[in-house]
């Protein structure tokens, strides 16, 4: 279609950014791409937002149904997975393509929705759902079409990355860094989805499906957040030559290895370059090698820009051409078994807070040895009769199953003051 009427559902931060771009750049976009994007109208359940939209010159539509009826392409920006699912489904059933920035929706109910889209001969586009304006979806979908993608490694949550960067650069505590992130608008009032890794899990689940063309349940993605990390851990990791990042990992081997957790990255690893609220993703394919994409993974205009680029994609028919056949989200895609976390093998960082008594290190290392875990290096702090002291160590390669068993046994010792914190090392 050369002319597309846009029905915008949800006039929050990103929605108002979309209206701004359409107002300012529709002429240039027509000029450059041959696509005329026209805002049919906006609907939002919030009266204040409706007023704002009206002030921007947008026509107010009374319901999602009305927005769907009035448009050639529907933009869903209300978030969540309930109402958003119903609206998206209705739009697709009506044969209207949907552009969304909703990562939770695509990660948890994407296959369903794509099945509906196919049945109705229409499509969805969701570049804005992962890393905003960093074109990682397009890269996987188009640029890597000839590659067997073997792995994805990403820092895909700006909030967590901001918090860890502040802890690392300024020596702040987790709590202080989070507060500053909230003050700056990088973190929600309830930051759970971000700091517990759920947001990253949604994103890596979407990327994995595109990259590997295999289906798996979102619930199987192992997810661990950053809330237990202390400035001490950051400091010790640095001593060992590492940086701590909340990492999204996906590997396509016999089984699928998709997980999110804090990890130690060597200081010169490409991803450590993503600091503050920035995102970065490394895609490794058998032909292209490793390609890294890096930039703002969130924020009003980067996300709104990705939505509008998707509108061009849909209007030009590119999205339909891509997703008509793309197996990643189809019904008859191969299902792959997830690797159980017990079976992964890696090196570990561990911090164990102990009473400073003679023989403590020997007890701990005895338990590790018994569980087939050998210590690569260890830092034991000097004596302190009042407080617990940390024993900090890096292990050689070990199985997670063994590590868990060892940690359970260590945590059961009288001399241990708080549950052992351990993190995986990514080379």
């Amino acid at each position: 279609m050369n002319k597309a009427r846009i029905g915008l559902i949800g006039f929050g931060t990103v929605g108002s950014g979309v209206v701004k771009i359409l107002k300012e750049r529709a002429g240039k976009i027509l000029d450059a791409t041959g696509v005329e994007l026209e805002l049919a109208g906006v609907c939002d359940t919030d009266a204040g937002r409706r007023k704002e939209a009206e002030a921007e010159g947008a026509k107010i539509l009374r319901s999602a149904d009305e927005a769907i009826a009035a448009s050639d392409i529907v933009v869903e920006l209300i978030g969540g997975t309930d109402a958003a699912y119903d609206i998206t489904r209705k739009a697709l059933e009506a044969g209207k393509p949907v552009v969304t920035a909703n990562k939770a929706l695509i990660a948890t109910r994407g296959s369903d929705l794509f099945a509906v889209a196919r049945k109705s001969g229409t499509c969805m586009a969701f570049e804005a759902a992962v890393c905003a304006g960093v074109p990682v979806i397009a890269s996987l979908r188009d640029g890597f079409a000839s590659n067997r993608v073997t792995s994805l490694l990403g820092i895909v949550n700006g909030t967590s990355n901001y918090v860890l960067t502040k802890m690392s650069r300024e020596g702040w505590t987790y709590e202080d860094a989070l507060e500053e992130a909230q003050r700056r608008g990088y973190a929600e009032t309830d930051p759970t989805l971000d700091v517990e890794g759920v947001d990253s899990a949604h994103k890596i689940a979407i990327l994995s499906r595109l990259a590997f063309g295999a289906a798996f349940d979102f619930e199987t993605v192992y997810t661990e957040g950053i809330t237990r990390i202390t400035p001490q851990d950051i400091h010790y990791a640095q001593e060992f030559g590492y940086v701590i990042k909340l990492l999204a990992v996906a590997r396509n081997e016999e089984k699928l290895d998709v997980r999110v957790h804090p990890a130690l990255l060597p200081k010169d690893h490409p991803l450590t370059f993503a600091d503050g609220s920035l995102n970065a993703v490394c895609i490794t394919g058998d032909a292209a090698g490793t390609v890294m994409l890096h930039g703002k993974g969130a924020g009003q205009m980067p996300t709104a820009g990705a939505v509008v680029s998707d509108l061009v994609d849909v209007a030009l028919g590119r999205a339909a051409a891509t997703f008509e056949h793309l197996k990643a989200f189809s019904e008859n895609v191969e299902r792959k078994e997830p690797v159980g976390m017990d079976d992964i093998e890696t090196r570990y960082y561990a911090r164990i807070m102990v009473d400073d008594k003679p023989g403590v290190l020997s007890t701990i290392s005895g338990i590790l040895g018994k569980n087939d875990i050998s210590i690569a290096s260890v830092i034991q702090m000097e004596r302190d009769v009042v407080k617990a002291v940390p024993i900090v160590m890096m292990t050689h390669h070990a199985r997670e199953r063994d590590m868990r068993a060892a940690v359970a046994e260590i945590d059961g010792q009288d001399i241990v003051r708080e549950p052992c914190l351990y993190m995986r090392v990514e080379q």
Copy 2:
């Protein structure tokens, strides 16, 4: 088209990589994208290469004409701009889409060829022409469709970057580093196009047209190579806190500022992260902010992978949908005036080899001052009665016109032993 017969013209390094991918992955590509890519045949003027292609099971076609006739999509991989132009034009006139990795062809004769393609209702795709498997063309074309792109900064020539990295890391001379690059296959026997910046100029010209949607003559791109840089320059730049890279710059202001030259980048600049033969491009848009793409910008499989991804793009109709309207390479695109190099303003690094006599620095700084150039910092080496000694300096912001005038005057002094070397600083 769901099934596409591929006519491959040119069975060199990249061509044989394309055949390898088609042999190994055609099934997977069909599976993932719905596109069946079938090699119709290969033609090459070299008998040895024909033999190799035959050994790979490819049908040998006797001429480019035969390859065009036998195929649905033509892949041009012979390089150069004469025969390649004729073949590409013939294919397009016959209504056959062309996929090419030929940067010189697209940079210098792209507009011509796109005009032919439009007239015949077909298209070209050329992701492989810039940074191989790093999807920078697709990102500009699709991901940044909603953005006003304001600037591009790139390290887009692996050979030069390898040479400068070796000089920087190991203290090697330019000559030794180039020899090693040739030994490793990173540099051609005649490395002129790479080390003199012409290859980078081709690439930044293509990217600029896509990014800015404006036309300009390739000949207006200012191009300067790395052959005069010495290990001393690398060392002094480091002292000042900079890294020397061969930089491709493009800015879209009142006039177009597109140029290639060695430049000093601050040590923490994102692009300095591209070391060895790697490439990196920073794209800055008004919505997305700065996105960096980083990876292998050359080599057999990365380039062949990009060609095959383009085949999928063409077969799915995405390339046609994109380029049908894309103004960047159309006849009626706005032509923009280039900024004259005389008019750019930047900071400079300069090294002047002088006789070590009293008053030399005062002479030099006098000439600079007269030309409106003020010195930010200077390093003058201790006395040496035999050899010339370097005066090395960083200037404040100055106009290139003034810098050139000053350098001409400095070079005319009796105390100056060789032409002054100066480089621009990019912040």
